[in-house]
């Protein structure tokens, strides 16, 4: 049985293009208080006119609109989604159900603590488990995404240095790091200094030692790094950084490689963030909401974002009292709904299960690596954990690039891996299978990759012309950026640069 077949699907215009006056998809109860004219309550000049071009569709149309559009997406429930660094694992249905329990989801964030004990317990318990998993001393669940977790961590580091009267100027960042790392450092008022990688794909410890000065606030390390390689010399790195009074920030986006095997807290990491939407199975939602808890050692605890959640006897309470704190990052407590799901996941998997997840994630990645290394160039021979990065250098010979390979995978019925990242690997193809999928699915992916490498030699146009079997062929991204059309306009006109 081949993996794919081609069949018709339905097109769908923009909701604005379906709209016509007199249709509606809502119902409201009648007003149950005195019905004064609006103009008697507000100044007429405070009132807006009818919103021209605003949708007017029936419920039936609305549902078919989104249903049709949904069918244009590839997604985790359909099959393997080996987007490296993104940990596209299965999003358990139980998490979704639990997060929708009315007594949990229908709660106002500003209720008194006594009225929110259930929710505070969720936050507290998750914090405790994350502390245990990471070996860190304290956790804040407030950051609403990985990048905000990074910002929180770097701000905490800055606060720490500030309290020592010297905020320092630089943050050292390996050249393999994710783009959010330097961007977060800048937002915290630092300058980013890149550290090269060594020939094994790890941080160049010598270079690090050279750059490490007392003007360096911290090193931002990803471990395992974006090549899936564990920073084996972590202890030496730690000595170098700490010797100069610097701290170590760890980007924990790749924590799915480590659970039950190693803890950042045992590696002299001072602060890190986790991505609940990666390691802890909360859904990616087509781009969020995620959650990026920040975890730290005691020395940084005073600077954690506010409020903290504390247990006092049998009560939980929000604590806003920490003069050293970097302050708030969110109007309330971050993406609480993601915390609910993550706690549900941890309880479901349990101690053994979490370890097994990491184990299988690493096994799967190594299996793919071993089966593909004869077909694709492996830039580093260093052992890898939960993901593996290949390049397109062999396929380049016949004019086929990473982009082509990625697009051709679509025709084979797979979502492509992450491409051109990490930046230090030319034409990177970054594959992270996660623990979720079956061996049959992994094998099908491997076979598709092998087939593409053959096509690249035998029939390169097939690859460079891909995708042929998706809703659209390749999209003109240059045009999109040169002549941006960022919204629909009633007259068919469009905003443009």
């Amino acid at each position: 049985m081949s993996r794919t077949f081609k069949a018709f699907q339905l097109e769908e215009p923009l909701i604005f293009e379906k709209s016509s006056p007199g249709k509606s998809a809502y119902s409201l109860p009648p007003l149950d208080v005195e019905d004064l004219p609006v103009e008697e309550i507000l100044d007429p000049e405070d009132l807006r006119d009818e919103i021209s071009g605003f949708p007017e569709v029936s419920e039936v149309e609305l549902i078919s609109h989104y249903t049709r559009m949904s069918t244009w997406n590839y997604h985790v429930d359909l099959g393997m989604y080996p987007l490296g660094s993104c940990t596209m694992k299965y999003n358990p249905k139980l998490n979704e159900r639990v997060s929708r329990i009315p007594g949990i989801g229908l709660t106002h964030p500003l209720q008194e603590d006594e009225q929110s004990q259930g929710n505070l317990e969720i936050l507290f318990r998750l914090q405790e488990y994350l502390k245990q998993l990471t070996g860190m001393d304290d956790v804040s669940l407030q950051p609403a995404g990985g990048a905000q977790g990074e910002l929180a961590g770097i701000l905490m580091i800055r606060a720490y240095h500030l309290e020592r009267r010297h905020p320092r100027r630089y943050v050292l960042i390996p050249d393999s790091a994710h783009g959010t790392n330097p961007a977060s450092a800048i937002m915290a008022g630092y300058e980013a200094i890149p550290i090269p990688s060594d020939p094994q794909g790890r941080i160049d410890v010598k270079a690090l030692a050279e750059k490490m000065t007392e003007e360096v606030a911290c090193l931002m390390l990803t471990n395992p790094n974006t090549m899936g390689i564990f920073e084996t010399y972590i202890e030496e790195i730690s000595r170098i950084v700490h010797a100069k009074g610097g701290l170590i920030y760890m980007d924990g986006a790749n924590f799915n490689a480590l659970m039950g095997y190693a803890r950042p807290g045992d590696m002299d990491i001072d602060v890190l963030h986790l991505n609940l939407h990666k390691t802890f199975s909360t859904p990616h939602g087509g781009g969020g909401p995620g959650s990026g808890p920040v975890a730290c050692k005691k020395i940084l605890s005073p600077y954690l974002p506010l409020p903290a959640i504390r247990q006092e006897g049998s009560m939980y309470r929000l604590d806003n009292d920490a003069p050293g704190s970097i302050g708030r990052l969110h109007a309330f407590y971050g993406n609480f709904g993601m915390a609910v799901r993550a706690l549900c996941y941890i309880l479901t998997c349990g101690r053994e299960g979490l370890k097994e997840l990491s184990e299988v994630a690493v096994l799967n990645a190594n299996y793919i690596r071993c089966r593909l290394e004869d077909h694709y160039d492996l830039p580093y021979s260093t052992p890898t954990l939960h993901e593996v990065v290949f390049t397109d250098s062999r396929q380049n010979k016949s004019g086929v690039t990473t982009l082509d390979i990625a697009k051709r995978l679509i025709d084979h019925g797979f979502h492509p891996p992450t491409t051109y990242f990490p930046l230090i690997v030319r034409g990177a193809l970054m594959i992270e299978p996660t623990e979720s999928y079956s061996k049959e699915e992994l094998d099908a992916f491997i076979e598709a990759m092998i087939a593409i490498s053959q096509e690249a030699t035998e029939n390169p146009e097939k690859v460079t012309g891909a995708p042929a079997d998706a809703k659209l062929t390749r999209l003109d991204e240059v045009r999109a950026a040169r002549h941006p059309v960022l919204r629909w306009l009633p007259d068919g006109a469009s905003s443009s640069a």
Binding site: L36, Q111, G118, Q148, L363, P383, L486
Partner: protein, 447 residues
């Protein structure tokens, strides 16, 4: 482990293929010295039944709005959520996929974002809007950062009527960037002090921040504020925490705003104990290359067919790293979808009707409260009440009537310890509004 699909037998075969004998060997690059030797102190796996029981027991410990009439607002609003929303967002096609990096496989998400951007533009009367930010407060912080980039000026004028938590988040984001935040007080109406503003505005000012309806529920004179701001060469950033108000009130874009940010939670997103929420961000076309966050744009495929992609990525961290307009990566995608579905479901009429119901029901309470109101300015669905008793105490009494009362302002403003911020939405029943008024004023309502 039901979330793993590899059998023990397969594990063995795969290990053999890889050429190691134990799975532990795959972790050999982790030095022994940092390897975990004892098991984690975590509970054993729990079954579905146990987990459901546990979370239901937690739910019992919350005072949720399905069982209590809730008069809290202050940035999080208890509004009607059409059932169809959950049907749409529960489609795995939408909620399990990643940010649409591969447009050929993500047209559903991309078209939805494009629609969301358009809806936000329509709602705010601005020219461009991004694909979302974390929440209203960080959207404000990002707007301030953008104003910094655009003006290179060091000062922000921030009214004391800005949501205090937004004020704090702004402070956190700007803490290390050598800027000052100058506070503009409010006057008797509850609106910001225009005279004070006039005096404070000078060519150091990057932007004037103004929230409307403001934290005290009062509708600000945006036209005048943006005029003053513009006259000083400063930008104006309008913050909207109650997005539903945009269904009725003149939109900031028509009143001269340069940037409009806010919280979209009102538009279909459950209260959810404050998150996930939805930061929205809109501005004028000329500023678009300085915007933070993702943008979906329309283009064509190689056969000329319309399609959508993420665009203007050179603003973003994954391309520009330290030169990016923001560090944001994952945003609040699914919440943006919720908002788009909500606005499309309510549509032109429904949004107006819902907003009017809020206005009228809140006005009903205003009338009952009469002299107890702290401010004279017009409001949408929130108002500040002066209480004879400690508001925290009053809230305790209200619980006995099945009511979760308003926000005791003392929590944020020590000088307003006798005041309570009350919000009325379409969800509050008239009996409860009356009961609230009675307990707040001590006067019985004749009905």
């Amino acid at each position: 482990m039901r979330y793993i699909s590899i059998t023990p037998e397969e594990k063995k075969r795969m290990l053999a293929m890889i050429g190691v004998d134990r799975v532990e060997a795959l972790f050999d690059t982790i030095p022994d010295s940092v390897r975990l030797t004892q098991p984690l102190e975590l509970p054993e796996a729990a079954s579905e039944t146990e987990i459901l029981d546990y979370f239901k027991s937690l739910a019992e410990k919350n005072h949720s709005t399905d069982r209590w009439d809730c008069f809290l607002g202050a940035g999080a609003y208890n509004h009607f959520i059409p059932t169809l929303i959950d049907s749409v967002i529960s489609r795995a096609e939408f909620y399990t996929c990643y940010t649409p990096y591969q447009p050929e496989l993500s047209q559903g998400t991309l078209q939805a974002i494009f629609e969301f951007q358009t809806l936000i533009c329509q709602l705010t009367a601005m020219e461009v809007a991004n694909a979302s930010l974390y929440d209203g407060s960080s959207a404000l912080a990002e707007a301030a950062l953008m104003a910094l980039r655009l003006t290179k000026r060091p000062k922000f004028l921030v009214p004391s009527s800005l949501h205090p938590n937004y004020r704090k988040v702004l402070g956190t984001y700007l803490a290390n960037l050598e800027v000052q935040l100058e506070e503009i007080p409010v006057v008797k109406t509850g609106g910001l002090d225009l005279d004070y503003l006039t005096q404070s505005l000078n060519d150091d000012c990057a932007a004037v921040v103004v929230q409307s309806p403001n934290f005290f529920g009062v509708i600000e004179d945006l036209r005048e504020i943006t005029r003053l701001s513009q006259a000083a060469g400063s930008l104006s950033i309008v913050v909207v925490t109650e997005a539903l108000s945009l269904g009725l009130l003149k939109p900031p874009g028509e009143l001269g705003a340069d940037i409009v940010v806010g919280e979209g939670q009102s538009l279909g997103i459950p209260l959810g104990f404050g998150g996930p929420n939805l930061g929205f961000f809109a501005t004028q076309d000329r500023y678009k290359r300085q915007m933070p966050g993702r943008l979906a744009g329309q283009t064509v495929d190689s056969q000329g067919r319309r399609g959508f992609v993420l665009t203007l990525a050179t603003r973003e961290q994954h391309i520009r790293r330290e030169k990016a307009t923001s560090n944001i990566c994952t945003n609040q995608g699914l919440c943006a979808l919720i908002c788009a579905v909500f606005l499309s479901a309510l549509g032109k009429q429904g949004l107006r009707e819902l907003a009017e119901q809020n206005l009228k029901k809140a006005f009903y309470l205003r009338k009952l409260l009469g002299d107890s109101l702290e401010f004279s300015g017009k409001s949408f669905n929130e108002m500040v009440v002066r209480c004879d008793e400690n508001p925290v105490e009053i809230n305790r009494q209200l619980l006995d009537h099945g009511i979760v009362g308003g926000l005791p302002l003392g929590r944020y403003f020590p000088d307003r310890a006798d005041q309570m911020l009350v919000c009325v939405t379409e969800q509050n029943r008239p009996e409860k509004i009356q009961r609230l008024a009675e307990i707040l004023t001590g006067v019985e309502v004749s009905s």
